[in-house]
């Protein structure tokens, strides 16, 4: 925190306008031109040698199953472990493997104004689990191990801007949760720091406006999860004056959702997890549902360390994440769902209207499938405002792809008074909640970034 002898204004009232200007700027003079993006990304891919190969879990170098309890751990005792979770949510009980990584990483985007327009320093970063390997990523993705040197690798470029933000102006800085189905109470620091230094981009980096990043969000598997998460926390959404529910009523509804669910979860040894089995290759569900834990061997030319092996979480099917959208009094509203997940720090977070892997429910009759799933799947093309595939963080997840949708709904499909656990809120209301941690889950943040960065979407 910087201390001024003169008082600072409590609110940076110019920021929303500056963000809006960057969102409207779909071209840039200073940064990378959008039409050059594909060639640039291909160039970065060609400039390094990346190979990722599957390796049996029993053969991943540096990792082993603990003799006592069977947890999957690294020999250094750092990075993360795969352990077991016993969850009881509102009486429903199950066990599953879960990633335990009780440390806070930094996800940071450096911003700088060129010709009056905020640009953001994005990185072409390889992660072994990414479809396409390289994706457009934040300036910095540093685990605690990264910045304390456990990797024994090269320094993380530009990290100093986020460790000592006094060098610039902090535009966003909030702890947000990772996936509650796969991580135990994991959160990362989502930061945007504006710099006034002269910062020439390194080879794997480029300056882009928000409007340009928005356009790239139309493409599948280009903008990585961490970038989407951070951008959702910036004040990109309009501040609507009116909404179906006041901000206080939204908070009160959310508080009630937190209070009414009984979520109890505890760590158990991985070997004790019922209904999951360990083979040489994987840890997997006996019904082959949900996800597997798989191993990969990685060679990379531009990473801190040039080769390593590691386990990754590999979902079994593609998931579907969709917000239903309705206009009330001309103002777009999103139907949010207060979701319980076993690994969340605090009971529930707000997710999209639909968030599931449809094939897990294919054998059920429609009334037993998740609410609104079939409505979203059957939506006519003219109701679909957004449709793209994005993947989850490739440092932990292997080909974890989700189809993200924004679907217009009408009075016929969903009334103004939705079922328990659901509420109509505006993008601006979600955006102001995203200033604080643990209100919005990762999937809701991806869709909020889409809404905030794409011009004229809703």
């Amino acid at each position: 925190m910087t201390i001024a002898t003169v008082l600072a204004a409590r609110d940076d009232t110019r920021l929303p306008t500056r963000i809006a200007r960057s969102r409207l700027a779909v071209a840039t003079d200073t940064g990378l031109r959008t039409e050059d993006f594909d060639a640039w990304l291909a160039g970065r891919r060609a400039a390094h040698r990346f190979t990722v190969e599957r390796v049996p879990l029993t053969k991943i170098d540096g990792w082993s199953f603990e003799p006592d309890g069977g947890n999957l751990v690294h020999r250094s005792g750092r990075f993360f472990t795969v352990e077991g979770l016993h969850a009881v949510i509102d009486g429903r009980e199950w066990q599953q493997p879960i990633i335990v990584q009780p440390e806070v990483g930094i996800l940071g985007i450096l911003a700088k104004e060129f010709d009056g327009v905020l640009h953001f320093l994005m990185q072409a970063k390889m992660e072994p689990g990414n479809p396409g390997l390289l994706q457009l990523s934040p300036t910095v993705q540093a685990t605690h191990s990264n910045y304390t040197g456990v990797h024994r690798g090269a320094e993380v470029r530009y990290l100093e801007y986020f460790i000592r933000p006094a060098r610039g102006r902090v535009l966003t800085d909030v702890l947000q949760s990772e996936h509650g189905s796969w991580f135990l109470c994991k959160s990362n620091r989502n930061m945007i720091v504006e710099t006034f230094d002269d910062v020439p981009p390194d080879d794997d980096f480029c300056w882009l406006t928000l409007g340009q990043i928005g356009e790239l969000l139309h493409r599948d598997n280009v903008v990585n999860m961490d970038a989407r998460s951070i951008l959702a926390c910036a004040p990109t959404a309009p501040v609507e004056l009116g909404a179906v529910s006041s901000d206080m009523d939204v908070l009160s509804w959310f508080t009630n959702e937190r209070a009414r669910h009984d979520v109890r979860a505890r760590r158990i040894p991985l070997a004790a997890v019922a209904d999951w089995v360990r083979t040489d290759d994987h840890i997997q569900h006996v019904g082959n549902r949900y996800f597997r834990v798989s191993g990969v061997s990685v060679e990379a030319g531009n990473r801190e360390v040039t080769s390593w092996m590691q386990p990754l979480i590999e979902p079994v099917g593609m998931s579907l994440c969709a917000f239903l959208v309705r206009r009330f009094g001309g103002v777009p509203h999103l139907l949010v769902h207060a979701r319980t997940e076993g690994g969340l720090l605090d009971t529930v977070e707000l997710g999209p209207t639909v968030q599931c892997t449809p094939e897990n429910y294919a054998h059920l009759a429609e009334p037993e499938r998740p609410p609104f799933l079939d409505l979203v799947r059957r939506a006519a093309a003219d109701r679909i405002r957004y449709d793209a595939v994005h993947s989850d963080e490739g440092g932990r997840f292997l080909n974890a792809v989700s189809r993200y949708l924004l679907v217009e709904a009408g009075e016929v499909e969903v009334g103004a008074e939705p079922p328990p656990g659901y509420a109509w809120v505006t993008p601006g209301q979600l955006n102001s909640l995203a200033r604080h941690g643990h209100y919005l889950n990762m999937q809701a943040r991806t869709l909020l970034a889409v809404i905030g960065l794409l011009n004229g979407l809703l």
Copy 2:
């Protein structure tokens, strides 16, 4: 959440003015006159028969030590348990008994406008651990057991206004943490609901303005903890335009505090807790420090159940909670401390500048005692803006009293750039954080309520 066909304004812009009007109203025509308060409270005390007697822990009816692990539990399996906690904070390791109560209670104050001034329905409520037994309490204090009927007692009066807030207008509704040193991840719902119904107060209830409650906060052990906690969450503080740090910089500092501390805590069996012993009478620390677990037998004439026994946490000494106050550019600022506590849900919360039990440090030299403790204790009378004793919730704590202070500091004692872990923030900044959960700890909320309700204090 109420759904209107017409959109609601996102912000209730009239509320801060209405709150300010109630704060300025130190007299009332409709409610209980302040000069009649003592007689009224004495009358309520006389109207009921209350006795609280100490009972050895081994003799508290309905409670027993589990054969396996020694946790102290109620025969119904409900209410709460006393278990063990193993905490490791930034490498410092210890064990202690801790209250486990994984359910969310409702703390609610009903509000209503009379003659244009908001009044609040307060209750003279007996809790066995309260000094003086009866204190001025919220309209409703309901544990989950209360409102689901585990007590098998009488209904909780006025509870319906908080279970179905659609009957009124929600002014405040937020989950706030209880004490992180005594409770494991416990939070309660802090609510203020304005009603438009005609609500005649029952015998044990009275209508008071915020100004009147503020005056009562000058007295020792009158306004109970839950009432202070709720009132801290209402928008009582001024919205200062300027501050030493912008709101974003305060959030960023707080995020960094959360990220930089390594807090790991896990439940262990009570019998396994090192350095604590169980006698017939108590569970206590071998050095007789910190607190004891004691038993009481209660008879009460106006409670849902007329007699019961229970364990209570009994602190060994009186604690001291103080904010240092400094003006920058004419605007008062409080020196907050980002405190780690073993039972907090998420690493740190903001506490007062000083929060400790001084006698635990009496044997140490001054530089080894908590920062600013001696500065506060030596403060000249003309530096002290507020000085009163308040107790913690008497349903769980026995004579848990703290001296609360607001002490003016100068440039000489604390610079504009305080030590790591401390920051200067305005009451308005703290108040806007209190709209969300887990930013402010209980002790900071008490002092924030004091600042928000007492006219002309800072």
